[in-house]
């Protein structure tokens, strides 16, 4: 009963979170009226900065958590995180390289991150193909290799950079933040998330079969190769857009699926929905409290979510379920 109600409860918490996130603006003198006065600073803060930031936090949290579920299925390994294919390192590399070639403001960082993520993941996938089949163990090792390569290039950039600003830029990007949130990014995140959830709605039974074992799944008539390729495609899209919009935020993708599983032990569609909503809640509340904790910039979101989530995760893992 609780499991069925949980998505509704979590959705309500998200709406409450959005309200909390903007409440300081609404409850100041004439704050609510000023939101609709397009010339006021309050209106710009509300529409151009605060709302895109909160919505990005929700969508990135949900996407990373869902990507975590997919990678744990795909690799049949509870330690598999969404960045296992080198996506995060590729994004970090792209985000730092493209603005040097194409300086078009914040968007060049986002575009660079997305391209970096897609290129590195694409290379990982291509070199893991053999006889039209993807070998999962090769995917894992190639992902690690590509990730290490991209990380080495970033370290080289950090070491050789002569400008303090460039150094700060690289470090800031690697930590992850919602400061770069823009409206233009939100439809991309939302569409990819929605498409993945729709796909999972129709295919979650096939995924459960894959988890039992690839050979058994084949015996049951499942085309595991097509399923794996489709999963990899969604995984790449989810992670690349998330990382492009917010940087490589750790923890969410690996831990949230475990928390969701401890709440909803059955591997049904509800599991994906709960994972996504939990990921959204974690990053949303992390974003809301990060600013008062460490003004004026706010504490990096990856650091904060780990502070909040790790004790809870350790408790869940060790409580004996």
């Amino acid at each position: 009963m609780l499991n069925k109600l949980l998505p509704t409860i979590l959705t309500s918490i998200i709406f409450l979170g959005i309200f909390l996130g903007v409440s300081d603006i609404i409850f100041v003198d004439n704050g609510f009226d000023l939101i609709f006065d397009t010339n006021s600073t309050t209106s710009i803060i509300f529409w151009e900065l605060r709302l895109p930031r909160l919505l990005t936090a929700i969508l990135v949290g949900a996407s990373l958590a869902l990507a975590g579920c997919l990678s744990q299925y795909l690799f049949n390994n509870p330690l598999a995180d969404p960045y296992i294919l080198g996506t995060a390192s590729g994004a970090s590399l792209g985000a730092n390289l493209l603005p040097l070639i194409l300086p078009i403001g914040l968007l060049s960082t986002t575009l660079g991150a997305w391209l970096g993520a897609v290129v590195i993941t694409g290379i990982t996938l291509l070199i893991s193909f053999k006889n039209k089949h993807i070998q999962v163990y090769k995917l894992l090792l190639n992902g690690m290799a590509m990730s290490s390569f991209a990380a080495a290039v970033i370290s080289f950039l950090i070491f050789t950079t002569s400008s303090d600003q460039q150094l700060r830029q690289i470090i800031f990007w690697v930590i992850g933040s919602f400061e770069r949130a823009q409206w233009i990014q939100i439809p991309f995140l939302a569409i990819v998330l929605l498409l993945t959830l729709v796909y999972l709605y129709f295919k979650h039974n096939a995924l459960t079969l894959l988890l039992i074992g690839e050979e058994q799944a084949k015996v049951m008539g499942l085309n595991t190769n097509v399923l794996k390729i489709t999963l990899l495609l969604f995984l790449t899209l989810l992670v690349s857009f998330s990382v492009a919009c917010a940087g490589p935020i750790g923890f969410v993708g690996i831990v949230i699926p475990h928390i969701a599983r401890s709440i909803n032990s059955k591997l049904n569609y509800n599991y994906y929905v709960i994972s996504s909503l939990l990921g959204a809640c974690l990053l949303l509340f992390g974003e809301i409290i990060s600013h008062p904790i460490y003004p004026p910039s706010g504490l990096p979101i990856g650091v904060l979510t780990s502070f909040i989530g790790v004790p809870f995760f350790v408790y869940l893992i060790n409580k004996g379920k």
Binding site: T41, I44, L49, T109, D164, Q165, R168, Q169, F172, P296
Partner: protein, 287 residues
């Protein structure tokens, strides 16, 4: 005659392993054994290099960091890498004394250098007055009291004149100025930084009024928009700020066309060019 020759040899420090030293305390309270006669110095901080270049002959400076680029003549001095510190090269250079500003070198590395027989002296200066005191202190250690005193007196006199003029401006007439260090990510000179002191002498005030744990805080876009400074001063490389953050076009600074640029070295190195930096700020604030 023999005595004179012997005295010359001793004073030149022919045997560096047996240097005559004196005990002193640096600005962070460490006890440092400094040779009585300092002949070879290394500066690991650009602002200290500028101080040294003002009061001692350049021949005494045996190495500088890649960032030490002022005055022009200093470029002839060999470079030593500081991030990470090239300890091997530093030892080979056999300096009598290494100067560094607090925060520019880890204490553990300084202790390591001391074990290798190289004295490390930390200086700590933040305000314009501190810079003057630092010049006097370096002068004493370098046996250049006269030159340092002269430089300190000149700077002190200029500073006094600027202070008198600044005090004539009423508090509410002083414009609120934000000095931006970097645009992506956003970093600025905070209330506790030396820039606030420079702005005071320039007849203005720092737009950042709260104290943060970091004297050079990272800002959020929202904070910057709420701050709404009257004037933004930054360096040329940050001229993309309005492309990056279009919402800042709503700020008073943008609407009144009060975005000004300053030479990065001048503002980022609080050294003997302090008066030059304050006068430049004053000129920009008055525009």
């Amino acid at each position: 005659m023999t005595f004179i020759v012997l005295a010359i040899f001793t004073s030149c420090g022919g045997d560096r392993n047996h240097k005559h030293t004196r005990k002193t305390h640096d600005d962070i309270g460490r006890t440092v054994n400094i040779p009585v006669r300092v002949h070879r110095i290394v500066s690991l901080t650009p602002s200290i290099t500028e101080i040294l270049a003002t009061i001692t002959p350049l021949e005494k400076i045996v190495a500088r960091t890649p960032h030490c680029t002022y005055p022009k003549e200093i470029l002839k001095v060999p470079v030593i890498d500081v991030y990470p510190l090239d300890i091997e090269k530093l030892v080979k250079l056999k300096p009598d004394l290494v100067f560094v500003k607090e925060g520019f070198l880890a204490i553990e590395q300084a202790n390591q250098l001391e074990k290798l027989g190289i004295a490390v002296y930390y200086l700590k200066f933040n305000t314009a007055q501190d810079i003057i005191h630092a010049i006097v202190k370096v002068g004493k250690l370098m046996d250049a009291d006269m030159q340092a005193g002269l430089e300190a007196d000149t700077l002190g006199m200029h500073l006094h004149k600027l202070k008198v003029k600044a005090e004539q401006i009423k508090e509410y007439d002083k414009p609120e100025v934000l000095i931006l260090i970097s645009s992506n990510p956003l970093y600025a000179y905070g209330k506790d930084s030396y820039a606030s002191d420079f702005l005071y002498y320039a007849g203005a005030k720092n737009a950042i009024k709260e104290k943060f744990s970091n004297p050079f805080p990272q800002l959020s876009r929202e904070y910057l928009l709420k701050l709404n400074p009257e004037i933004i001063i930054t360096t040329k490389q940050n001229n993309n700020i309005f492309d990056l953050y279009p919402e800042l076009k709503q700020s008073k600074a943008f609407k009144n066309n009060r975005i000004h640029y300053i030479d990065e070295d001048l503002i980022s190195r609080p050294g003997p060019r302090v008066i030059e930096a304050i006068l430049k700020l004053k000129e920009l604030v008055k525009k």
